[in-house]
């Protein structure tokens, strides 16, 4: 007679205990918003007792937020932020050094050099030019093949690129140009490019979306939105300039002093695991775990070779001064109208 009652009571208790047992993990991220749902679902399936609460914003804003909260961190873990930003946080002593379970599978270029590392990479995103073929034909624009091509006068007012202060994509572009062309030539290049820029936008994917809609025929962006939009039928050509592509590692790190340290570490484990790599594979051509990825059909087979040699230590060390110089030159100049 008491059996069904006891059963119900047991189920209810289990349910509520389960609900109580669910840890809420505050995850700061700069991942593209379209990716959030899939990643969250996959992780929660593998770890049913943890629930992810995303705090998503562009790279620059998330970095600034984390730095501002240095003394009282709100975040438990960062999943998907530019490594150059994470390096800055590491310099401030904000990250926990933790070696995830599958660390040995991760390529040594794609993780923090220290042992155990303060951040571990997920995938790579690289610069890409989105070129609207219909608009190009309408306006009689030749297809650019190099970064230098973009300074040609025929492209005046027709290029959009992300603001490096707010967007990680923007910053990787500036960093790459300074490294590829050298400091003096690099700034000269950007001066010339500035004449052709129609607008600086805040997010890394927006230039490609603007190019897709034909608002501006040329968008300096990265490969993920380019591929997505092309698949949706946008009249885009994906151009990989011949001087080489700037790139950035998207990485994961555990915040020191987090109240949910164990759950955070579980996330770090998941982020480096082969299961997660399968997730990233769908979106990115180059993964932190070498050997599994193959570039999407829209990208050439030798995609990985096109990346420049990137000195992340230099980039993160000089981030503030580069941004200050960039702001001084291009952000808030009166002659740009």
């Amino acid at each position: 007679m008491f059996k069904p009652l006891a059963l119900v009571a047991a189920v209810l208790t289990a349910f509520s205990l389960n609900a109580l047992a669910k840890t809420e993990l505050t995850v700061y991220t700069a991942l593209e918003a379209e990716q959030l749902k899939t990643y969250k679902k996959a992780f929660e399936q593998a770890n049913p007792d943890i629930e992810i609460k995303w705090v998503r914003d562009s790279t620059g804003i998330i970095t600034a937020k984390l730095l501002a909260e240095k003394d009282r961190p709100q975040a438990d873990v960062v999943w998907g932020l530019a490594a150059s930003s994470l390096a800055i946080l590491d310099q401030q002593g904000m990250l926990d050094n933790y070696a995830p379970k599958d660390l040995d599978k991760i390529g040594k270029n794609y993780r923090d050099a220290a042992n155990p590392p303060s951040w571990v990479g997920m995938d790579v995103w690289a610069a890409t030019i989105c070129f609207n073929t219909i608009e190009a034909q309408k306006q009689g624009l030749a297809k650019p093949v190099s970064w230098q091509d973009l300074t040609k006068p025929e492209y005046k007012g027709k290029i959009v690129m992300p603001n490096p202060a707010s967007s990680g994509t923007g910053f990787l572009d500036v960093s790459a140009w300074l490294q590829t062309f050298g400091e003096k030539q690099g700034w000269q290049y950007m001066d010339d490019l500035h004449q052709n820029i129609g607008q600086y936008v805040h997010s890394g994917s927006k230039p490609c979306k603007l190019a897709a809609s034909g608002e501006f025929p040329i968008g300096i962006s990265f490969e993920y939105p380019a591929i997505q939009l092309k698949r949706q039928g946008a009249p885009l050509d994906i151009i990989l300039p011949k001087e080489g592509l700037g790139w950035e590692i998207e990485a994961t790190a555990v915040i020191k002093g987090s109240a949910h340290g164990d759950a955070a570490k579980k996330l770090a484990d998941f982020s480096a695991s082969p299961a997660a790599m399968e997730l990233y594979k769908a979106n990115f051509a180059i993964l932190a775990q070498p050997g599994i990825a193959k570039p999407q059909t829209e990208l050439p087979a030798d995609y990985e070779q096109r990346l420049i040699k990137n000195d992340f230590a230099w980039a993160s060390k000089n981030r503030d001064s580069i941004l200050a110089e960039w702001r001084k030159r291009y952000d808030g100049k009166s002659e740009k109208q």
Binding site: G157, G198, G214, A234
Partner: protein
């Protein structure tokens, strides 16, 4: 003569003491926390020189003398002055057409003129991109592209139009027929009558409208974000400083600069009001315009033009939300409305906005109306009354952006016990109520002043407690005004962005913020869709409340036949 005997204070008297004195102190406390302290926090933040915050007197000096700041200030001033110079004459003509001519279908034009109030300021910007952007429908009409100065100006003109219109409508409605009769009997031409009668009476309102539009424009960043391109303005800079760079001190300094135009216009307006005195004599007769086909024809054309422009802009926004892939695939689809799959907040944002708007409207109207009643209709506590009166005028002088900044600084303070509210829905509601407090209170006070001044005295002489009188007599009579306040607060809460942008957390993201996020990420179709959703929700609720108000008025027609106190 007998000495006064210690008497039993009745329960009704205790109830009244709690209602009146307790109520006033509570209202004072709320106003101090919701209005005064955040404002003080801005000044504190701006002048404290904590490192990395960009504040302090030295930083202030640097900021104010930097070329960048001068450039920003110049831009902001140019934009705001242009917008005001365009909007005020247009609004004047429109208001004149509605009040002083005999054009047909006036309620239709009046309704259309309210459209920009129903959506956040981003909506005109988005529509302008679809109309005049590089792939815009009417791109051919423009020689340069819309991004930049003219984009911002056009967007703000649309956004601020109804605000200027409201002020001028009420000024032009005060027309004394006797003055016009006298003028015409003396042989004055219509132009002369305008110069000597209409213009002096409406001069002050024109100035007030000019200042309001100027202040609204200089502190808005919804339009510059969407259509400003690289044309930077101060409002954007404040946002970037606080959200983008977490430099609170710098944000506070810019906030203080943005406070100046509002303070200035508020002060001048108050001074002018005191000089001007009584607006209209009690014996004035209602002015009925004389028929004139030519005049009506001209004004109708103007009104039609303005309404057509508004319809074009808002119609474009709605249309663009339904277009699958602008400009290459113009088939209609609802995929932009599938917010779950897109960035920026999704349906949660919309639900949050509804919740916040409802809470703001309901809680706000109760608090504000009761507060207005206590200030207007009860005596005693002179000092308290004065403090309340002054505090309730402060929000009028503080733009939403600055108030939002104040909330960030105050509630984000280390060691502030109220910090727990930061990022919560409750704080958003409080901030929005505080932001729109003054206008709502003025509506309440106007309605309350129409009641017989002796109602309360009569109730007291009959030993009826004031709180019972308030519920039984005051509220039912003022129901139309209450519904007005409800509508105003709801719509304002749905469309507000300048304060909310600083105070939301991922759980409490609002629809207007989602619009910004989506536009920022390049999902302009989604931004248009969410804006359209806000537009229809606001318009829908407005119509609903207007209908309810009319119903309430009709049902109470039995006793509303003659003016109260007759």
């Amino acid at each position: 003569m007998t000495l006064p005997v210690a008497r039993q204070v009745s329960r009704a008297e205790w109830g009244d003491r709690i209602f009146v004195v307790g109520g006033k102190w509570l209202w004072l406390g709320l106003l101090v926390v919701a209005v005064l302290l955040p404002l003080l926090a801005i000044f504190w933040r701006g002048f404290s020189s904590e490192s990395g915050q960009g504040g302090g007197l030295v930083a202030a000096g640097e900021l104010l003398t930097s070329a960048n700041f001068h450039w920003l200030l110049g831009n902001s001033l140019k934009v705001s002055l242009s917008v005001a110079a365009i909007v005020v004459p247009l609004a004047y003509l429109f208001a004149y057409a509605l009040q002083r001519t005999l054009i047909p279908c006036k309620s239709v034009w009046r309704g259309l003129s309210l459209l920009p109030l129903m959506a956040p300021s981003m909506l005109p910007g988005i529509a302008l991109v679809y109309l005049f952007g590089n792939q815009g429908l009417l791109r051919g009409l423009l020689s340069e592209n819309i991004y930049g100065f003219w984009g911002i100006v056009l967007g703000e003109v649309i956004y601020t139009f109804p605000h200027a219109l409201m002020i001028l409508l009420s000024a032009l409605s005060l027309a004394d027929a006797r003055l016009f009769d006298a003028a015409s009997s003396m042989g004055a031409s219509p132009a002369r009558a305008f110069r000597s009668i209409t213009w002096p009476a409406t001069r002050q309102a024109v100035f007030a409208a000019f200042c309001l539009v100027f202040t609204l424009t200089i502190t808005d960043f919804g339009v510059p974000v969407v259509v400003g391109g690289d044309y930077q303005v101060l409002a954007l800079e404040a946002y970037k400083a606080v959200v983008g760079q977490q430099q609170f001190g710098r944000g506070a300094l810019i906030g203080m600069v943005l406070l100046l135009p509002a303070l200035f216009s508020f002060g001048v307006d108050a001074w002018l009001r005191r000089r001007h005195g009584e607006a209209m004599s009690g014996r004035a007769q209602v002015f009925l315009p004389a028929p004139s086909r030519l005049r009506d024809g001209c004004y109708l054309a103007i009104v039609l033009l303005i309404c057509a422009l508004l319809l074009l802009v808002f119609g474009m926004a709605v249309y663009s939300s339904l277009v699958k892939f602008w400009p290459y695939n113009l088939s209609l689809s609802l995929n932009h409305y599938q917010f779950e799959d897109t960035a920026g907040g999704g349906w949660l944002a919309y639900r949050n906005s509804l919740t916040m708007a409802l809470c703001t409207a309901l809680i706000g109207s109760v608090l504000i109306f009761t507060g207005a009643y206590l200030m207007e209709k009860t005596k005693g506590q002179k000092g308290l009354n004065l403090a309340l009166r002054m505090l309730s005028f402060v929000p009028m002088a503080v733009p939403g952006l600055v108030l939002g900044l104040g909330y960030v600084f105050f509630f984000n303070l280390n060691g502030n016990p109220l910090h727990v509210f930061y990022g919560s829905m409750a704080l958003l509601v409080v901030c929005t109520i505080a932001h729109y407090l003054t206008t709502a209170q003025m509506t309440a006070t106007t309605a309350l002043r129409q009641l017989d001044a002796e109602f309360e005295a009569a109730a007291l002489s009959l030993k009826a407690p004031l709180y019972r009188h308030y519920l039984r007599v005051t509220v039912p009579i003022c129901l139309p005004a209450l519904l007005d306040i409800l509508r105003y607060l709801f719509v304002s809460a749905m469309t507000t962005v300048s304060a909310a942008i600083f105070l939301y957390s991922p759980d409490t993201i609002l629809a207007a913020v989602a619009v910004l996020n989506m536009d920022d990420a390049g999902n302009v179709g989604g931004a248009a869709a969410m804006s359209t959703l806000i537009l229809f929700t606001s318009a829908g609720v407005s119509l609903l409340l207007a209908w309810a108000s009319r119903g309430a008025l009709r049902r109470s027609q039995a006793w509303r036949q003659t003016a109260p106190g007759q």
